[in-house]
Amino acid sequence: MEIHEEKRLEHPLSKEELDKRPKIEYKPYAKYSYSAGQAITKFLEGLKEGKIYGRKCRKCGRVYVPPRMYCEDCFRPTDEWIEVKDEGIVMTAVASFISWTRERLESPEIVGVIRLFPSSDRDFVYPALFHRICCSYEEVKDMSIMGRKVKAIWKSKEKREGSINDIDCFKVI
């Protein structure tokens, strides 16, 4: 072929070869204290109370969950706080057999997107949360969980700390 067949300067290594090579190691230090700002502070406070707060733009009617202080479609400040339901429809769901460090999990962790009420089937954008879903692997695999109505299972009041993890998961009702 006519593409480069010149001398190879690069050296692919196998894992064993790489292990034998000298290397420089470095442990980074990258710690942050992310400012939640107005919108996410109120959202986290709401979770602690067992409520899901959104923010509504009166011009286009869109409700942002998680909330935003501005409407990205209209480019104007959003107008009011709205408490949305902790119930909604499963838009998508997946079953993870690997942890975030890519270790194998015995039983899968199930996560997905929940379109929260008020919203309708016809919407392309809607208030929603990305979260865990309490259901079986089979319900994911045969897709039956998608389209089902679910409700948040909250941690007990004393265990809530103003975190997305104050919701254990969403479960079919």
Partner: protein
């Protein structure tokens, strides 16, 4: 984007270079960039002193393990004492780099531009997957300990559910691309596999299995772009960049339906308008849609308006996207077959189209004559797309 009649300067492609794509490389990121850049200059018949400006593309700093990676890569990319900068749109970076190179030349500020993309993912421990946790919203998503594959799996499953697509039909993409990669001398994972192989591979995040995914890789890619005058001086078989487009959707990815990449439609329409393409499925001869996962190629063929919504799997089954099909897709072997050093992979896709239009793709050359080709990349939190249209 309003239609624009003012862009008048044509930008041509003079050369391309790639390193092998492999899971582990001895060379430093700077050296990988150098190897690809040197090869691109050689193919163009130019020396570094001829180059006015350099554009670098690389995905997260957290992979190579260097903050301000563009500064670090500038040396190996030939950027020293020149106008050099790095552009970045997550996974979509690979095609953003030639787009940026395009406006460097089209603006009249630069005549000859070297664009370089590099990624080295083998150095981060325990696994590159762990790094992907940091791409999520730090307060509302990261505490759920997500990994990257979740994104793809969620989008893939929504796409399957919406149109009733079977996993077996999607697996055909993996089969096709790994087969195409057999012809590509740079490829990391070429091979003859079957739909059953995909279906029997390890389940990672259902519906995503091992063979639905491209590997992590080290590698670099480079291209030389030049003004119309220069291009004509250096080659009798020019390939032109005729359209560019890019779009970012908002960050609120859970709050929109994932079955369709509307941002890609925007980006594609921007590029097509510029290139004067009105019927993409009739006017485009060869395409390299971004395929880090098999379903993404189908998703993107629909966003690119080459297939109707939900139609790509059926066209794939009919052989429409095969090397001898109506619109061959991923003739290079794509990320699934060649490997996925993120930004370099996107630029590799652009280079693949350049090879096709130049007629130097060797065994990868598609059967039908080609006039117009499109490359595309995708990134961020299911929100970014970059599209480039080229003609010979």
């Amino acid at each position: 984007m309003r239609p624009n009649i003012y862009y008048s300067k044509r930008v041509g492609i003079l050369g391309s270079g790639l390193t092998l794509f492999r899971s582990k490389m001895l060379e430093t990121p700077q050296e990988l960039a150098f190897i690809a850049a040197r090869r691109a200059l050689d193919e163009a018949g130019l020396e570094l002193k001829d180059i006015d400006c350099v554009v670098i593309g690389s995905a997260p700093d957290a992979f190579d393990g260097v903050h301000m990676k563009g500064e670090y890569l500038a040396h190996g990319s030939g950027g020293i004492r020149k106008m050099v900068s790095r552009v970045y749109v997550g996974g979509a970076t690979g095609v953003m780099v030639p787009i940026s190179g395009w406006y460097h030349v089209a603006s009249g500020l630069c005549e000859k531009v070297l664009v370089v993309a590099e990624e080295k993912m083998s150095g981060d421990l325990p696994h590159p997957q762990a790094i992907f946790r940091y791409i999520w919203d730090p307060i509302t998503e990261k505490p759920l300990n997500p990994n990257l594959i979740w994104i793809f799996a969620m989008e893939m499953h929504r796409y399957m559910k919406k149109y009733g697509i079977k996993k077996e039909d999607i697996a055909l993409v993996s089969v096709k691309n790994k087969r195409n990669a057999i012809n590509n001398p740079y490829a990391q994972l070429p091979g003859q596999i079957t739909v059953d192989d995909v279906m029997n591979s390890e389940v990672l995040v259902w519906p995503v299995q091992r063979l639905d995914i491209s590997p992590t890789s080290d590698g670099a890619a480079a291209m030389v772009l030049a003004s119309e005058d220069v291009t004509r001086r250096y080659t009798d078989t020019p390939v032109w960049i005729e359209g560019v487009g890019w779009t970012l959707d908002n960050t609120s990815w859970p709050g929109r339906d994932l079955f369709y990449p509307r941002y890609l439609e925007n980006a594609a329409k921007m590029a097509y308008r510029m290139a004067g393409i009105e019927r993409p499925n009739k006017e485009i001869d060869v395409v390299e849609p971004y395929d880090p996962f098999d379903y993404k190629e189908l998703h993107h063929l629909e966003g690119l308006q080459i297939a109707g919504r939900g139609q790509a799997p059926f066209l794939l089954k009919e052989g429409f996207f095969d090397l001898d099909g109506d619109i061959p897709s991923s003739p290079s072997g794509g990320l699934l077959g060649v490997g996925n050093p993120i930004a370099a992979a996107g630029l590799m896709k652009t280079i693949s189209i350049y090879w096709q239009l130049k007629g130097i793709a060797g065994k990868m050359q598609v059967k039908r004559p080609v006039k117009t080709g499109v490359a595309q990349a995708w990134g961020d939190l299911m929100q970014a797309s970059t599209v480039i249209v080229m003609r010979n």
